[in-house]
């Protein structure tokens, strides 16, 4: 590869990393359920992304690369579960609720309630849980989620609708 071209790719990748580190880490954290594995998953995601960045950039045709990054994290997380043959062992720690910025109203509602929601989310099938993480933790729209999950826009819309409906039922029953 022409080294000048490689240097340009490195700069672009550095921008991508700075812009989406928090997205990848948030996804990994909510997907896996503990900080230690989330850190490893985030690092592995960016290393793998670096290896395939040139091709991804060429094929993206100017579209945002966030879905591609999240897809890498999604595949790595699936491999992690397959290798360890387990569901998240450690409950999502309460520090998350404390470390995020909340309004006074939120604080009144209390973190117990939010922790309960997180527990209910864990009861959802993986695919539905992932769709909710992408929508609510990362703020991805239907099209982005569809690209990250390798689904059509329509199927993604249905998936999100069903995920919210099922979660609502779990929360109401809890």
């Amino acid at each position: 590869m022409d080294p000048a071209h490689k240097a340009r790719l490195d700069r672009d990748f550095s921008d991508l990393y700075r812009t989406h580190l928090r997205d990848v880490y948030s996804y990994a954290y909510y997907r896996i359920g503990n900080h230690h594995d989330a850190e490893d998953l985030t690092e592995q995601t960016f290393l793998q992304a670096y290896r395939h960045f040139e091709r991804a950039q060429a094929e993206s045709d100017g579209r945002p690369l966030r879905p591609w990054l999240i897809r890498i994290a999604h595949n790595l997380a699936a491999n992690l579960y397959r290798d360890r043959s387990r569901r998240p062992q450690t409950p999502i720690d309460d520090t998350t609720v404390l470390r995020t910025t909340h309004t006074t109203e939120d604080l009144v509602e209390g973190r117990d309630e939010l922790a309960r929601i997180l527990e209910c989310i864990k009861e959802l099938p993986d695919e539905r849980r992932e769709a909710l993480i992408m929508r609510f933790a990362l703020g991805m729209d239907n099209r982005e989620i569809a690209r990250a999950m390798g689904k059509s826009d329509g199927a993604t819309k249905v998936l999100l609708h069903r995920a919210i409906k099922q979660l609502e039922e779990i929360v109401t029953a809890a």
Binding site: P3, D10, Y25, T100, L114, A115, F136, I164
Partner: protein, 118 residues
């Protein structure tokens, strides 16, 4: 549990609160950036190695040869232009065609010297 106006749980609002983005730890930032920096440094080393090896490879000599040829052509054109600009003055001063040719040659070599001195 929070209730929406209609009495049902305002699940989307709760989801936004529960799934708030998580800031990556500073140690992770450092770890990933160090690894990426190492990869970038590797790219710079590759650049140096590529430049040296490319000069050893005769297939890559064409580029500097072409650059030299282009530079030489531009220089020659400049000399000719300057010599031509002073042609009328030399013709008036010369007393024979041979004298004019000698004056033109002198002017051309003087212009070429000026150009190479820059």
């Amino acid at each position: 549990m929070s209730q929406a106006a209609g009495g049902s749980v305002d699940i989307e609002r709760m989801l936004r609160l529960a799934l708030a983005p998580v800031e990556p730890p500073a140690a992770l930032r450092l770890r990933v950036e160090t690894t990426l920096q190492e990869l970038t440094d590797l790219a710079v080393d590759e650049l140096d190695a590529w430049e040296l090896s490319s000069m050893r490879d005769p297939r890559n000599w064409a580029r500097p040869v072409v650059a030299t040829a282009v530079g030489a052509t531009a220089g020659t054109a400049l000399v000719l232009l300057r010599v031509r600009q002073q042609h009328r003055k030399r013709r008036a001063a010369s007393h024979s065609p041979l004298d004019l040719a000698q004056r033109t040659l002198k002017a051309a070599s003087a212009e070429a010297r000026k150009l190479t001195r820059r």
